[in-house]
């Protein structure tokens, strides 16, 4: 059974989401109203998915995602927020979150997104796709990194995601399987996160925060 941890500072939201996920047969192992405690206990809870609100009091959702991923790079975090997409969503995804869902999403969309996150898939909103596309273009202009370049196919698919097409619709349009589309989408996220990690390490080395050895 999929184990889910919910981090959200609004009690009513927390309860509503927990109810929806439990009703769909997912196992909500813990809920937290703030990020520090979630970060401290995540390892012991062994969740398949952490559903994390972007706006939290104290430690932000972005910082919490970064802390969770550095403690356990395989952890699967799905960001969740009430507002439209903003730069914080991109920051959370670069820090290692596996996707983003807007809170106004329907119950079925939420359950579907959590299940797919547990399955290792990337969850994109159109807005996030546009920001990731923009980020790759920014990287290629600023400091070209051969490891952080999208293939033509990946760019094409990301653009279709950004204009609201579902994986099913994209698969039909490109005459490939849904799984292939999902793999491409996942790659776009993986390469960006890898680039970000290399970037952070280099930044730390240059400033002597990490030892070269």
């Amino acid at each position: 059974m999929t184990r889910v941890v919910i981090v959200d500072d609004h009690p009513i939201w927390r309860e509503a989401v927990e109810r929806d996920l439990s009703a769909a047969g997912l196992h909500v192992v813990a809920t937290f109203g703030e990020a520090e405690q979630a970060v401290r206990t995540a390892a012991a809870l062994q969740p398949d998915v952490v559903l994390m609100d972007l706006q939290l009091p104290g430690m932000s959702g972005v910082e919490a995602a970064g802390a969770l991923v550095s403690a356990d790079p395989s952890i699967r975090i799905l960001m969740f927020s009430a507002s439209g997409e903003d730069a914080d969503v991109l920051a959370a995804v670069k820090a290692g979150a596996r996707g983003y869902l807007v809170k106004s999403a329907a119950r079925e969309e939420l359950v579907d997104a959590v299940t797919r996150t547990a399955d290792g898939q990337a969850i994109y909103s159109p807005g996030l796709a546009a920001m990731v596309l923009g980020e790759y273009r920014r990287i290629s202009r600023a400091e070209p990194d051969p490891a952080a370049v999208l293939t033509d196919r990946e760019t094409e698919i990301l653009k279709l995601v950004a204009t609201g097409l579902t994986a099913r619709q994209i698969a039909d349009q490109l005459v490939v399987s849904v799984r292939t589309v999902q793999n491409h989408v996942q790659n776009t996220l993986r390469k960006l996160q890898l680039h970000n990690r290399v970037e952070l390490t280099r930044w730390a080395l240059e400033r002597g925060i990490l030892d070269d050895a």
């Binding site: 009430a82 159109p126 546009a130 923009g134 653009k159 609201g164």
Partner: protein, 389 residues
């Protein structure tokens, strides 16, 4: 918010700040020139035909300097009546020279300066500070006129001092006007920043409270067929409206160009998703305006022709030397070959207007559609020589 209104209040008091500073500088000049005049009167009192008139002029100058100085230092004298009285009083005190000096001293072989001499420049500076170059000019002409009456005409020395008075009045007036305008601009920019900060603060609080509750209401009630379902639908509408309100930024148009991302995001609605890069996309103002208008036209087209319940997605891409905007809808679509039908129901008009706007910007627009599979409008516009972060 008391803290913010206090800072705005300080700013509005600050608008008279430059004028007040200039006025205080003029007051210092006035006091210094008064000392010179008094020294000359005491030094030369034996030479005058009626020293008492010279003393009277000295006392008058002290009184006027003190009165205007005290009023001016507190900021209360920056008004037309005070300046007007000062201009006339100074002119009048200059005329006392006619009584004090002999004709020889006034315009003959023993030529002496008027009793008020450089002190008479004071009202010219004050008028200029309050009313600009024209007021400075008028005040200078009054003092020159007064001196001409004393001298019964104009001679070489009066020419040069007249020139100095005119220059002082007009230049000070011009500088004062410029400084006040610059100060107003700075205050306006600060007010705009404060308003923006306040708006962001408001957006954050609305976001944390109102939007969450509306979203939750929508979520809990949307499957209900009765009253609750209707309330949920209303909550969803309000949620979209409030979100559009707090995300519309008045700063989308700037002096150097437009931020296309913000301009397009302002078009977000319940059935319209707008996806833009995280970094701002600065383009020339006309590109921003025309592209936003073209996207608006495309969205209006979706509203009219794509059928009920159709959704639209807008994607902005920044290629550095070009920008691409894609508008896709999942509506009924149309047959691209049947142009006559399209023209008949008005779609062609909108399509050609979008293409026209793109062409005017040196770009291209394509419209792809087929029955049942929605419409995709792609607009690409070159933006050469742009600085990209």
């Amino acid at each position: 918010m008391p803290v913010r209104s206090a800072s705005v209040g300080r700013m509005s008091a600050h608008v008279t700040g430059v004028r007040l500073s200039l006025w205080r500088a003029a007051t210092v000049f006035r006091c210094a020139s008064l000392i010179v005049c008094l020294y000359l009167i005491v030094q030369w009192h034996r030479l005058y035909q009626h020293p008492s008139a010279a003393y009277a002029a000295g006392i008058g100058m002290i009184a006027v300097t003190a009165l205007v100085g005290v009023l001016g230092w507190s900021g209360r004298a920056n008004r037309w009546p005070v300046v007007g009285v000062d201009v006339v009083a100074t002119g009048g005190l200059t005329l006392l020279t006619i009584v004090a000096q002999t004709t020889d001293q006034r315009y003959g072989s023993q030529l002496m300066p008027t009793l008020t001499t450089i002190w008479a420049a004071g009202p010219c500076l004050e008028a200029a500070i309050v009313g600009g170059w024209l007021a400075g000019l008028v005040a200078a002409l009054v003092q020159i006129g007064s001196a001409m009456i004393v001298r019964t005409g104009i001679d070489g020395q009066l020419w040069s001092s007249s020139f100095i008075l005119l220059a002082a009045g007009t230049v000070t007036g011009y500088v004062s006007t410029l400084a006040v305008r610059a100060e107003a601009d700075v205050a306006a920019a600060a007010a705009e920043r404060a308003a923006l900060a306040e708006r962001e603060w408001l957006a954050r609080s609305i976001h944390d409270g109102v939007l969450q509750v509306l979203g939750l209401t929508h979520r809990l009630g949307r499957d209900d067929d009765g009253e609750l379902g209707r309330i949920a639908a209303l909550a969803a509408d309000q949620e979209a409206a409030v979100r559009a309100l707090i995300s519309s930024r008045p700063m989308a148009q700037t002096a150097v160009g437009g931020e296309l991302g913000a301009a397009l995001r302002a078009l977000r609605a319940e059935r319209v998703s707008v996806a833009t890069p995280a970094e701002p996309v600065h383009v020339p103002p006309d590109v921003c305006r025309e592209l936003t208008a073209a996207v608006g036209a495309a969205l209006a087209n979706v509203d009219r022709h794509a059928g009920p319940g159709a959704c639209a997605w807008v994607l902005l891409e920044d290629h550095g030397d070009a920008v691409t905007v894609t508008v896709r809808d999942d509506g009924v679509g149309f047959d691209g070959d049947r142009l006559t039908t399209a023209a008949a129901d008005g779609r062609l008009g909108v399509t050609s207007s979008i293409k026209g706007r793109a062409r005017d910007l040196g770009g291209t627009a394509t419209v792809l559609s087929s029955p049942g599979s929605g419409t995709v409008v792609t607009i690409e516009v070159p933006t050469p020589g742009r600085e990209v972060p």
